[in-house]
């Protein structure tokens, strides 16, 4: 692997991709990594397709340009496929993780690709069952750290609790922790 892991998050504004990208960065930082996370800003409002980025490295991160060749693409909303080029710049050994009820094979078919690694998880379903709202960001984070084990599940859970304690009700925090855990367990690759 190269020095730096670069991740691109695809979502609709309001689905929490920025939060997930930051949470991942913060957890990685707690684990001793250097980090950078930033969303792509525009005048778009809730519902519009958006992107967020995370960089994680063992060395200080100095680069300030956007990410053009991510190692991992995380798609928080399956309906974006076909509308947004989620594969843009993703190299042939890149990883794509999609929030969907469909198995990876079907997604591969839809994307029309033979290379790259594809993973899927029903993050929205998990979120509805655990948090009670269709917010797929935290389960997708759980799936991501399973596929790319840069940080441990416990580290993510602890960081989530730390970041949101006092800001969210205990049951919301608990729901999110459950969501992360379940997605971590349920993510499927080909």
């Amino acid at each position: 692997m190269k020095d730096m892991l670069e991740i691109r998050w695809h979502a609709r504004a309001g689905q929490g991709a920025k939060t997930a990208s930051y949470l991942l960065a913060e957890t990685a930082m707690e684990a001793g990594k250097y980090i950078q996370a930033f969303p792509e800003y525009g005048p778009e409002r809730t519902g519009a397709p958006m992107k967020a980025y995370t960089r994680i490295s063992d060395k200080p991160i100095r680069i300030h340009s956007q990410i053009y060749n991510p190692d991992v693409v995380v798609v928080l909303d399956k309906t974006l496929i076909g509308k947004v080029n989620v594969l843009e710049g993703l190299p042939s050994d890149g990883i794509i993780i999609v929030n969907t009820t469909q198995p990876p094979e079907e997604i591969r078919e839809q994307l029309g690709i033979s290379d790259r690694k594809i993973y899927t998880v029903d993050a929205t379903g998990i979120a509805l069952e655990t948090i009670g709202r269709p917010i797929p960001n935290t389960p997708m984070l759980g799936a991501l750290i399973r596929v790319v084990p840069i940080i441990s599940l416990d580290e993510v859970l602890n960081q989530f609790r730390k970041k949101f304690e006092g800001r969210f009700k205990p049951e919301v925090i608990e729901g999110n922790l459950q969501a992360i855990k379940r997605a971590y367990e349920e993510v499927k690759g080909e």
Binding site: Y22, A25, E26, M29, Y34, I35, Q36, A37, F38, P39, Y41, P43, I61, R62, I63, H64, S65, Q66, Y68
Partner: protein, 395 residues
């Protein structure tokens, strides 16, 4: 003395707000504007939660923001504010007055393009529009530097031999909305570093009334302006001294410029703010390939560190000067003009190539910068520069 290191992940604007909080100024008068809004927003939270002793004045415009800052600073308060772009432009009139009245106001500026067309993203047009306003201008490469520069700005501004306002710039969105890891200081360390503010005069000394801002006619305006210009020029060694003191405290030393791998470099790129970080990557890559390339970061644009820059560049063969703003109708950006003018009287000087890039937040990548170095090498062979070159614009 090294203090205990505490690391946090934080966005640029929030780092600025955190620094404001730790300074705990007497007055903050500010108006929100993208991409600086979070500074004001976050600071309002500190005020609402009683975490600062500051009198927060949520003014109705940036013009009034700077006006209220001027009133408060003249009343002897430690004063801070934040803005960007159109907000800075609306303050333009008051910027000159703040500096001429010698008021040590500290302002964070999330540098953003100027309208029209309206654009919310990062470039240096706003700051360069204010370059002649008599403020000290410091630019930050990353989130850590925003945080560090604000404390230094307070100390520089209030230094008895300076007493001038300071703006701390950083790239809108690119740095203002980027979460990075920074090392932060304890509150008491900050307060010891900046010290207690002792104003030279105050409107609130009602037993010794003064008039601040009288009319100065043909017989005295000139003297005031020369005195002010001298004070600004004279702040350069103080900025260096404060940067060193800050380094002794934190291990992070600051100078007015930073040379990155310029030793033996024949081709040097000159840049400011976040682009410097990206350029470092390219310099490292090319150096590994054996190419004699280097990078000069301009941290302080006002006062212009002429001598430092000349010394850093005079042995290069070709320099590429990267401006993130333009001077329409002229042959280069502001940085290009100043650097080439500075070399005018020197026999030995590099060939200088003017670049304008990144307007309205247009991304600059390592590939762009690699291409610049390729061009500089070509220019070296040719012996003369190309016309002003725009990076990453469609023809």
């Amino acid at each position: 003395m090294k203090t205990q290191i505490k690391r946090i992940a934080i966005e640029g604007n929030e780092a600025a707000a955190l620094a404001f909080k730790q300074v705990n100024p007497d007055v903050v008068a500010a108006y929100p504007i993208t991409p600086s809004t979070e500074v004001v927003q976050k600071f309002s939270e500190y005020v609402a939660n009683g975490e600062v002793d500051t009198e927060f004045v949520p003014v109705e415009s940036e013009h009034s923001a700077m006006s209220a800052c001027i009133g408060a600073a003249a009343a002897g308060a430690r004063v801070m504010t934040a803005t960007a772009s159109q907000g800075l432009a609306l303050m333009w009139e008051m910027l000159y007055i703040a500096s001429a009245l010698r008021l040590p106001i500290v302002m964070s500026v999330s540098n953003r393009a100027l309208s029209a067309p309206i654009n919310i993203h990062g470039d240096h047009s706003d700051a360069m529009g204010a370059r002649d306003s008599g403020w000290i201008q410091i630019f930050s490469e990353n989130v850590q530097e925003i945080y560090d520069n604000i404390f230094q700005a307070v100390k520089i501004a209030e230094h008895p031999d300076v007493r001038l306002p300071v703006m701390v710039g950083y790239d809108g969105f690119i740095t203002s909305h980027s979460e990075e890891m920074i090392e932060i200081l304890e509150d008491d360390v900050v307060r010891n570093f900046i010290g207690k503010y002792k104003p030279k005069y105050t409107l609130l000394d009602v037993d010794n009334p003064i008039a601040v801002g009288p009319l100065a006619l043909t017989d005295s305006y000139f003297e005031f302006k020369v005195a002010q210009a001298y004070a600004l020029e004279n702040s350069l060694p103080i900025i260096k001294q404060v940067g060193k003191e800050y380094g002794d405290l934190t291990g992070r030393y600051y100078d007015v410029i930073e040379r990155y791998r310029t030793e033996g470099a024949e081709y040097i790129i000159v840049a400011m703010s976040s682009t410097v970080g990206t350029a470092r990557e390219v310099v490292d890559t090319l150096r590994e390939k054996g190419l004699p390339v280097g990078l000069l970061k301009i941290r302080v644009f006002r006062p212009f560190p002429t001598e430092d820059i000349i010394n850093a560049l005079k042995d290069a063969k070709v320099i590429g000067i990267l401006d993130r703003s333009m001077v329409p109708g002229s042959f280069g950006g502001p940085l290009y003009h100043e650097i080439t003018s500075a070399f005018y009287h020197y026999e030995k000087r590099p060939i200088a190539q003017a670049y304008v890039y990144g307007l309205g937040g247009r991304d600059i990548t390592t590939q762009h910068i690699e291409k610049v170095f390729e061009e500089l090498i070509d220019i070296g062979k040719k012996g003369k520069p190309n016309p002003l070159t725009y990076i990453g614009v469609r023809e």
